[in-house]
Symmetry: D2
Subunit: 144 residues, 4 copies
Amino acid sequence: MDKTNVRLVEEIFRDAKFIHALGIELVGCGFGWCESKMAKSEGLQQQHGFVHAGALMTLADHTCGGAAASTMPEGKDVITVETKVSFLRPATDKQMICRATVLRSGRTLVFVEAEIVVERDGTTAVVAKASSTLAVIPRRPSTN
Amino acid sequence: MDKTNVRLVEEIFRDAKFIHALGIELVGCGFGWCESKMAKSEGLQQQHGFVHAGALMTLADHTCGGAAASTMPEGKDVITVETKVSFLRPATDKQMICRATVLRSGRTLVFVEAEIVVERDGTTAVVAKASSTLAVIPRRPSTN
Amino acid sequence: MDKTNVRLVEEIFRDAKFIHALGIELVGCGFGWCESKMAKSEGLQQQHGFVHAGALMTLADHTCGGAAASTMPEGKDVITVETKVSFLRPATDKQMICRATVLRSGRTLVFVEAEIVVERDGTTAVVAKASSTLAVIPRRPSTN
Amino acid sequence: MDKTNVRLVEEIFRDAKFIHALGIELVGCGFGWCESKMAKSEGLQQQHGFVHAGALMTLADHTCGGAAASTMPEGKDVITVETKVSFLRPATDKQMICRATVLRSGRTLVFVEAEIVVERDGTTAVVAKASSTLAVIPRRPSTN
């Protein structure tokens, strides 16, 4: 039986207004992983025309949240404790894909990592790599 | 003589469209520090109604960039290498203030930290703490 | 009444064999802070003769543990969840002092930061800065 | 032609006295990766009898250094800028293996990640995961 908490992952992407504002969309999820995408747009730019580090951190953080959520039993939810993101290359591409994977889902803490990749010249390039810790909390009703 | 690169700091806040989209504003700067603010709004919310971790990370990252930029000589600029943000408390307040301070501004790297504080019950509470590394790069013309 | 859990802090420094091996000593503690020191020695060197980043990380991590422990009630202990350390300057000095400060001590998590400083040319220089998350766990008997 | 800077990797493990003190040994390396091992010993213990987080951080940091070094051209060396390590499970096993992989080796910065694994009940368990940034510096003679 698949224990993936698909409903919680979908809610996390559906009910977070900031995620909509950035154009971030859920692509798919399974037990312990989540994939999302974000299209480049003018509103995401920093001063040099690249996608802002903050937009990439948001994409990584939220997708880590999705991956962690996929492992939660009924009545539980997750919240970010800390996230570190390394910026390997400037993000100048039309679309960014983020894949988050749970390293360990414990009773109180979930460790997740994510990478943000782009298609460039026919190959995949990693533009950012994230490492995140989340805390397991009781589920509360969504605001939406 | 004040060596603060005020012009670069102002440009960084003026020309980053993502920063405008989030309502982040420069409050002030000096040599090795930068202060900014962000007002709570619906568009910044995550699924529980709190300000999204990604919005807080953006505020911290950009203000760290401002602090680092304040120490740059003519012809130099900065770009984020990595940022870690710890989330100490949920951000539910009307306004967040971010203060970034340079720990060390070297020839090729700048180390900066930042805290995001809110006024709560008449006292100041820290909601997030960031630690960031930036690289010194040649200045290129702004896109705006 | 002083709620500082001095006994737990002292045990942490007394019973950790690795800490003795590195010559790390407790200098003092209070509620939410801890200070320790480490003397430079050949055994701590990396390949260029500087103090190894791993020794600095150990000093920072353990002192963060001490600061977190100082806030624990009876029956509780702490364990490191994650630690990030930035290396601002090479550590070439005779003695390193580490000061850790609790940013927030919660029911399940404690956020701590630490800086490692040296005396250099009559002033204090920061050689490393750490940011650490610890989990609150039930206290178990010490192995010593 | 294999561009792996094997000599630099071997020197890094040979000339770092702290690494010998901890019993860390180079297992192998190639272009962009490095593997090392560390045997559990009393001297590495923290207060509960587990391997100290600082010993794990040292293992991860140094092996990241080895992986970064493997990509360096003649005349270049690396030094750690920052390292973050997440502790997924207590390390109670006889031997720890660390595998570091370069995410990006640039002209001035190298991004590396590492995992520390143990054999437990016939399977491999990850006890720690590290993310590190290193700076490329001119090579200086080794102290040994």
